[in-house]
Symmetry: C2
Subunit: 393 residues, 2 copies
Amino acid sequence: MPVFDIAEYKERVSKTKERMNREGIEVLLATDPANMNYLAGYDGDSFYVPQGLILKIDEEQPVWFGRGMDANGARITTWLKEENIRAYSDDYVQSSIKHPMNFVTNILKEKGRTNKIIGVEMDQYYFTARCLTELKKDLPNTVFKDATLLVNMVRQIKSEKEISYMKRAARIVERAIQVGIESIEAGVRQCDAAAKIYYAQISGTPEYGGDYVAGAPIMLTGKRASAAHLTWSDEKFHRNEVTILEIAGCYHRYHSPICRTVYVGNPPDKLKWVAEKSVEALEKALDAIKPGITCEEVEKHWRKAAMAEGGVARESSYHRLGYSIGLGYPPDWGEHTASMRPGDKTILQPNMTFHLIPSIWEEDCGFGISEAIRVTADGCETLANFPRRLFVK
Amino acid sequence: MPVFDIAEYKERVSKTKERMNREGIEVLLATDPANMNYLAGYDGDSFYVPQGLILKIDEEQPVWFGRGMDANGARITTWLKEENIRAYSDDYVQSSIKHPMNFVTNILKEKGRTNKIIGVEMDQYYFTARCLTELKKDLPNTVFKDATLLVNMVRQIKSEKEISYMKRAARIVERAIQVGIESIEAGVRQCDAAAKIYYAQISGTPEYGGDYVAGAPIMLTGKRASAAHLTWSDEKFHRNEVTILEIAGCYHRYHSPICRTVYVGNPPDKLKWVAEKSVEALEKALDAIKPGITCEEVEKHWRKAAMAEGGVARESSYHRLGYSIGLGYPPDWGEHTASMRPGDKTILQPNMTFHLIPSIWEEDCGFGISEAIRVTADGCETLANFPRRLFVK
């Protein structure tokens, strides 16, 4: 039932252990749902309760832990043997007297894992301050080390099968953004356009369907186009208003995001200029991408075009040009590893994947444009194939 | 632009301060997106980066902090004055050298808030172990106190307007569950049924649209009906298979969830029996709900019917009967306060709202049923009005 061959999971585990070894981590607690999926195949919408994997450097398989009612989900979706699926009873859930991390301590104690150096994902959404406090209380003599991006770093370079999943996600998002652009008309309710986008994201193509996306469709209309992360309302679209759409397709949890902008009516000259210049600058970055170049160098190419005198982007509202993407669960399709911005010296390698999104969210002018790309042997290719311009209706 | 009157937000802030006072907390750091929305109105799909409110006990308004590109979202959706909207620059985002909590420290220092007792939401998804570590590093002499459910406890009793929003969410979910049941047929792809559910959740009713829901539709088919939190695939539905649907409607972030079960074909006698007994036991609990009774007493009524000899539920796969609901963001529509289970002595009061979900996820028989309810002056009412039975097609 896992969506990759067992051999691929084993290779991922082995690469993870290499990193653990380098960083002096003997036991890894992986609580990021994307990392759980990556190493074990686990795919449940259950990350609102504490769950994770325990990977000991000298054991072949990680141990899954989670809530009792989710153990069957682990049996169905992972490649793990029965004894490595460990479920806590329901009285651990949102309890004022016990915490699921106390259950995790017991698993750690069982196999003599507590006198080891344990890596924990310190800055991962679902590893709360309380999780760490409970572990430290239960295991006062254990050394905990920050392993926040340890598995994420392994995830950066995709296998051919992962790329094929991201391309399927791209086929889905091409349809969804097309539907979004078609649906935006004066007099149509924003929620009805959003509903059509969702329909396209989930029904997918005739050959394969879509998964739930890590983030809701971003739909910024009129005044709201000055804000980066608002969603729709049940108000209607109006004539002479801009709408920015940022959405993703998702296939087996792999994402391909895209951002495009629609104007209903006659766009002001400034918006047309911003659109043209934004596309030009984005294309400078795309042209620069190839193995061997660093993230900050890619950004420099965009910066030269966009931020020079008379450029389209302003220093005062600067944000990073792009970030690595792939496997993801709510609330984020980003991998949190490399960013295209000054100071990021990550060297691009084939099959790294990024979302470049030099959108502009300003009070007098909002314009969104993006491309999700794969680094190829000698350059890059966009995952989706969709016209790169302002859509006027 | 906030969706409640300013007076309602002020009352919420005032009730929160009463609790802060009782618990000896002088400054509260509220990082749960639902708590940010509750106190300030903030509604952005931006919780994948650190953000929050700082509420000082002797100040009228909380201070919002978040990423630069989200400040306009705060200006648009909150009732806060300009000086209380504080944005960090983009180099704080997913950086290896600085953390947004260092920015928060600076705000705390500015107004002499650091020699106070600061409450933090220790076990809230978006307050990671690193967030606490950074604060403690920056403010070694400050006392931090756990304030995880402080605002959530205030949220438990809903205002009339909040109830009206939940009822709108219920109207939406009635349509969505109906669409789901109608869509499930042998030969139809699961993803296409899920897409129709999403469409109904977001387009809402002709009078008002739906928001994105805190959790993806749960759709458990065939063997997967033994797992509680899996979603759809692009496989087709088959004859003689059961499907459990658990979905919510969402209006202005207020949720009304529902769970129902569909069987395509002739259901086995065991499933029919389980359905009948499950509904009976759920109705015992519903009949018992009224102001003054405790959560554990409600559960006892269900338990007596469901877990006695020959009952429908098994001790080995026991889970809580229900939990409080309301305002929510991904990954959860639950409030994390009261649970209907042994030991929970929360006394029910009018306008508390719960989701009762005594579903059964077992290998030989999966059956889901639930009701979202409001405690009334002398009993309870279900938010949605939908037949309570196994649907056979």
